[in-house]
């Protein structure tokens, strides 16, 4: 639009005026160029160096990556991320969709109920972690409550059990985000064309068939957004693990995010920490880049 302005004059003021939009945008571009892309390159570079407690610029090739895949804790972290990621995404999506469909049935007090389902996402994972940590703790939480109510054989010590601790993180994370996923699906449901549904109803389709054949297929974009948001949250999740189990018992709930932090800052293996961060970035990029690509192309 800038070139539709009074043509002809090419004074300094005019050139400045034409450049103004870009000038306004440039601080953000510069900041992001340095602090996102520059930093990505820097960490990428570090992952090929022998950096320990401080960054070093001495290149060692793929050594950090080779070491990384030999470390047991990294193995555990990747496995845990798979378990956590799959369950978290699946349960949140199913629960979110179910709640959205239920709430879409012309419910009285819908706004009130929606508020209750959504509020956990306003809380910090650290807060959520504290609440669930003690609630799941067999010493004072659910198990102890059941005992005091007379159910003496009740056992729920997952958080202290290295085989099951990762599932307690799923429990808390699902509690935190499923309401948000519900809101995304609810928005999708509200965007569906009512005429088509009425026509199908007149043809005698049952509610179940209506959802299975018409509504859910139309929610594809909402499913896509939910998947992208949840997957990237799962890969980044750090706070909740720290607050809930601190990676323990032992390394039972280690995930790549906690692994990176401890190798970089407490074990002084910065090169290995950097290479684990690179792998996290690659995983997220594999999900986000195609998504952004399709989103931005559609809109143009």
């Amino acid at each position: 639009m800038s070139d539709t302005q009074t043509a002809g004059q090419t004074g300094f003021v005019d050139r400045l005026r034409n450049a103004l939009p870009l000038l306004v945008l440039s601080p953000s571009i510069v900041l992001v160029a340095i602090f996102v892309y520059g930093f990505i390159l820097f960490t990428f570079y570090l992952s090929f160096t022998d950096s320990r407690i401080l960054p070093s610029f001495n290149l060692v090739g793929w050594k950090n990556y080779e070491n990384l895949f030999r470390i047991r804790a990294w193995d555990t972290a990747v496995n845990n991320l798979m378990i956590f990621g799959v369950l978290y995404i699946a349960i949140c999506s199913v629960l979110g969709l179910l709640l959205a469909i239920l709430l879409d049935q012309k419910i009285r007090a819908e706004g009130f109920i929606r508020t209750i389902y959504l509020y956990p996402m306003a809380l910090s994972f650290i807060v959520t972690g504290v609440a669930w940590k003690w609630f799941l703790d067999p010493g004072i939480g659910l198990e102890s409550v059941m005992h005091s109510w007379g159910w003496d054989s009740f056992k729920f010590g997952w958080i202290k059990d290295s085989d099951f601790a990762i599932y307690t993180i799923v429990i808390a994370a699902v509690w935190q985000t499923s309401g948000f996923v519900m809101a995304m699906f609810l928005a999708g449901l509200r965007g569906i064309d009512g005429e088509m549904l009425k026509a199908a109803q007149i043809d005698g389709a049952s509610t179940f068939a209506l959802y299975r054949r018409i509504v859910i297929p139309q929610l594809r974009p909402a499913f896509m957004s939910a998947f992208v948001v949840l997957a990237h949250m799962a890969i980044k999740s750090y706070d909740l693990v720290i607050a809930l189990t601190n990676g323990g018992p032992g390394t039972a709930t280690e995930v790549p995010a906690t692994f990176m932090y401890s190798y970089t800052f407490t074990r002084n293996q910065m090169g290995i920490g950097a290479s684990s961060a690179v792998i996290m970035l690659m995983t997220i990029a594999a999900i986000i880049v195609p998504y952004l690509w399709s989103e931005l192309r559609e809109k143009k």
Binding site: M1, T4, R17, P21, V24, L25, P27, S28, I29, L31, V32, F35, V36, I40, T43, L99, L102, L103, D104, Q105, K106, G111, I113, Y117, L118, Y119, A122, L123, S124, F125, V127, T128, V130, A131, W134, F135, I140, S144, V145, S148, M184, A187, G188, R190, G191, G194, T207, Y238, D239, A243, N246, Y261, G273, A277, L281, I284, I288, E295, L296, K300
Partner: protein, 295 residues
């Protein structure tokens, strides 16, 4: 509003029964989502002995505000017995400027990207947006060095800067999508009347930006207040934000675990975002819905 529910209005006892069932299920989910909040509130108001004897679910026999007092001003956080108060203040003086600056940048960026298009605008937007999704583990090491070089290491100002940088993407996203729906003819007409870049922004776009500014502010406020990773990585002992201090309080292994104090501290850390959510959450959901229906 025109969901497929319309046909439940046809009546009949089977349908009425299914309505009751529907409300029961929705009610049970309300209990599920409220339970941890109930546990936190109830246990922050009772003496420690009532919690350790298996009474986590019950109301206090003896109501007390002592855990709140302790969490606020005397509890041991790290090495000092300062309570959470100084950290709460750190979080406040971190979140206010960070949110303000980022929102203004986001509004200007959104305005440029939609009303002053140029070659490569979409690419730049895409690159800004990708920055929102990167795992921040990727920037921790260089950022620690950079903050040192800029003289901001271990300070609240350093955290303000970090949150501003990584908030730009989302802020721009919100304003860009919002301004994209704003009639460009109005901007064009104002231009013909001789209005300049900033006049148009100030007089025409800004006055109608209320709804999206609310969404952006809530989003940034909750994210920055709730952040833990940056706080843990880039703050010194006396510049730690609330989340980091709360975690220190809970994880500290010395002495008896004062669960009631932990719960009171957790509520304090949650209160500002909860308040924002309750007061302005309606606009957030509305804004979210408007956004995702379009997208």
């Amino acid at each position: 509003m025109n969901g497929p529910a319309t046909h439940t209005a046809t009546g009949g006892t089977g349908i009425r029964l299914s309505r009751v069932l529907l409300y029961v299920i929705l009610g049970l989910f309300c209990v599920y989502y409220l339970l941890p909040l109930y546990v936190m509130v109830v246990n922050s108001l009772k003496p420690l002995s009532e919690i350790t004897s298996g009474g986590m679910m019950s109301l206090p026999d003896q109501w007390t505000l002592a855990p709140w007092g302790s969490a606020w001003s005397t509890a041991q956080v790290g090495v000092e017995a300062t309570g959470l108060k100084p950290y709460f203040i750190n979080s406040l003086i971190m979140v206010v400027p960070a949110v303000a600056i980022t929102t203004i940048l986001g509004a200007l960026n959104g305005y440029v990207l939609t009303k002053w298009p140029f070659r490569g605008a979409t690419l730049i937007f895409g690159l800004l947006l990708f920055g929102c999704f990167i795992p921040f583990q990727m920037v921790l090491i260089p950022m620690a060095r950079m903050l040192g070089l800029m003289g901001l290491a271990g300070s609240v100002s350093g955290l303000v800067f970090v949150h501003m940088v990584y908030g730009i993407g989302f802020a721009t996203l919100y304003f860009r999508n919002y301004y994209a729906a704003f009639p460009t003819e109005l901007v064009r007409a104002a231009q013909i009347d001789g209005a300049g870049f900033f006049t148009i922004f100030w007089r025409i776009l800004l006055p109608s930006s209320g709804p999206i500014a609310v969404v952006c502010v809530i989003w940034l406020f909750t994210n920055i207040w709730n952040d833990f990773l940056f706080g843990a990585s880039f703050s010194d002992f006396d510049s730690q934000p609330m989340t980091v201090a709360l975690n220190n309080l809970v994880q500290s292994s010395t002495g008896v675990k004062e669960y009631n104090v932990h719960f009171a501290g957790a509520i304090m850390a949650a209160l500002p975002t909860l308040l924002v959510y309750i007061v302005a959450g309606r606009y957030f959901v509305r804004g979210l819905m408007a956004g995702s229906v379009k997208g």
